[in-house]
Symmetry: C2
């Protein structure tokens, strides 16, 4: 008959087994130098014999450090957030931290506030907020004081440090590339209103057109989905004089390509298209998509770096770390005829 109540072994059990005090066990576990080699060996042997695992919950209670970071994100099935979170998780784990995720279906200030509240109760050592919406942003203003935090893609007048990819520059690269190809002007399919990326990309696009003294067409409103791109593409195909389109992300660019193809418009011969993100699929669109590359993994890593610095050395200045975008030329753009 096996022991009926198979309670997990605790430090005291190990101590008894090794014939030492629980404090010595603790020292072994935490690599304290002042433990005699043979004692250490005896303790370690007892640990493996009993299959002991330290209880991080108890440890967290007294150290007030859970070694867990919270992540609040919007729709983690989108490529951008998913990649960023992957980067965050990898970097966090390398640094010895766990990651606890809350992904919101819909973003509003209350949701974000609630999520941050849950995470606080749970005792996370810091939070990264991947919710690049204007509305989400307001919730950051009354973070539990003293809680280290970092935001992805935040606003300038930040109360917390921000890590972001230079959206404006990315949009400039895309637009300038199209103008350089000899296009008179560039149409733009935007992301959803309220998103900071949407605003940044519009800003960069508009700036380049204005600097070049070109007409600025009315942008078409999208929502990141291929369907929105498809609808926008149908409209654009029906319009006169459209020769270049800058789409705010790759998925919508796919929709645009589809719509143009259905209307018999050839890309890039009749119309050039540029996307934003460089998702793994873009290289294999028809035609392969010229696009702005975002290094999401780098963003994730930077977030953790900034966050850990805050945790270790106190509140940081509200810095702003900008990751430069890249540009990938493929076959969806060509000189204007």
């Amino acid at each position: 008959m096996t022991t009926p109540k198979r309670r997990l072994p605790v430090m005291a059990d190990v101590a008894r087994e090794a014939g030492v005090s629980h404090q010595t066990v603790s020292r072994v576990l935490n690599d304290h130098p002042n433990v005699r080699a043979d004692t250490r060996a005896r303790v370690e042997e007892a640990i493996t014999r009993l299959g002991y695992r330290r209880n991080l919950v108890a440890r967290a209670l007294v150290t007030k450090r859970s070694r867990t970071l919270g992540v609040v994100s919007f729709d983690t099935t989108l490529y951008g957030p998913a990649s960023t979170i992957y980067g965050i998780e990898q970097a966090a784990r390398t640094a010895g931290y766990f990651v606890s995720i809350v992904s919101l279906k819909s973003i509003d200030s209350d949701n974000v506030r609630d999520a941050l509240g849950y995470l606080t109760e749970q005792g996370v050592d810091g939070v990264v907020v991947v919710a690049p919406q204007r509305s989400a942003w307001r919730a950051l203003e009354n973070l539990p004081s003293g809680m280290p935090a970092v935001a992805v893609e935040g606003m300038h007048n930040a109360c917390v440090p921000v890590v972001c990819i230079d959206q404006v520059e990315g949009a400039r690269l895309a637009t300038r590339h199209l103008l350089d190809q000899g296009h008179e002007t560039v149409w733009h399919v935007t992301g959803p209103a309220d998103w900071l990326e949407t605003e940044g990309r519009i800003t960069g696009w508009r700036a380049v057109l204005e600097e070049a003294g070109r007409p600025v067409p009315e942008p078409l409103a999208g929502d990141w989905s291929p369907r929105a791109g498809y609808e926008a593409g149908k409209s654009l195909a029906a319009m006169k004089g459209v020769t270049a389109i800058f789409t705010a992300n790759d998925q919508m660019a796919l929709g645009v390509l589809r719509a143009l193809s259905e209307k018999g418009v050839r890309v890039p011969d009749d119309i050039s298209v540029v996307g934003f993100d460089d998702i793994p699929e873009s290289e294999f669109f028809s035609p392969p998509l010229t696009t702005v590359r975002q290094d999401f993994a780098a963003v994730g890593r930077q977030c953790i770096e900034v966050l850990l610095r805050q945790i270790d050395t106190g509140p940081a200045t509200a810095e702003r770390l900008v990751v430069p975008p890249g540009f990938v030329v493929r076959s969806s753009t060509a000189p204007a005829r």
Copy 2:
């Protein structure tokens, strides 16, 4: 001057503020019935006045329930895992649980074992393993005993309950659809070796062909990436007599479409193509992709359901919950000429 050491308020502070004992505060927090209404009100007021938040770490220590679930997953940037995890997270949070994620770069038994170890130390109440590889599977055999667990897409002789989408049936649907269109046989581009999905899809595909007495072509090895699909597509385009291709996922199907298009092969006129997953982009491929739909969100929900049942009512029988696949006919398939 503000208080220099602004320690967070604890239950004792609230108790003092409200003129009751800490136990009464605890009762209010846990919605115990036996608290007089005015006492409750006084406590609640004290709570808001002090901005008190309960410390879940301390609570977890004594209740031995962290209300956190662990998730071990492989590459969370892939659409399938990402969607599944999203479903898991939503369902978990609805049930009042947090989700702690470990996403592995590479899968092997040791990695999974380590991840499960970390999660155990952290005191999760249960784990869901989204690592549908044969090698990962072995690590589940020596789970810390008594740890509730559930696996996504596991093997039959399971030691833990499994939630999965019927891969074999999905592949059958795809293959039968193509045979019904009058194609003599169907070529197959597989997922990476070692993945259970890969095996299931091969099994279903082969079974239908054999049942119909058709020749079974040598499958082409892929790895889920569009590039692999592209390479396979180039090979297939160069082969004689290929009229129907079943690709093990949509991303590879995209690569196949690209390769065929480059070689001047028309889809679906010359060759029909079917994918697997129904990612949001598939509808807008050129042509829109006929594919097998997987309801990842449902898988996530089921996982949590099974897991919570285990947590609440003890170890479950090693059940196996199968979510049926769907089939979406679009424009990438047509009758054989």
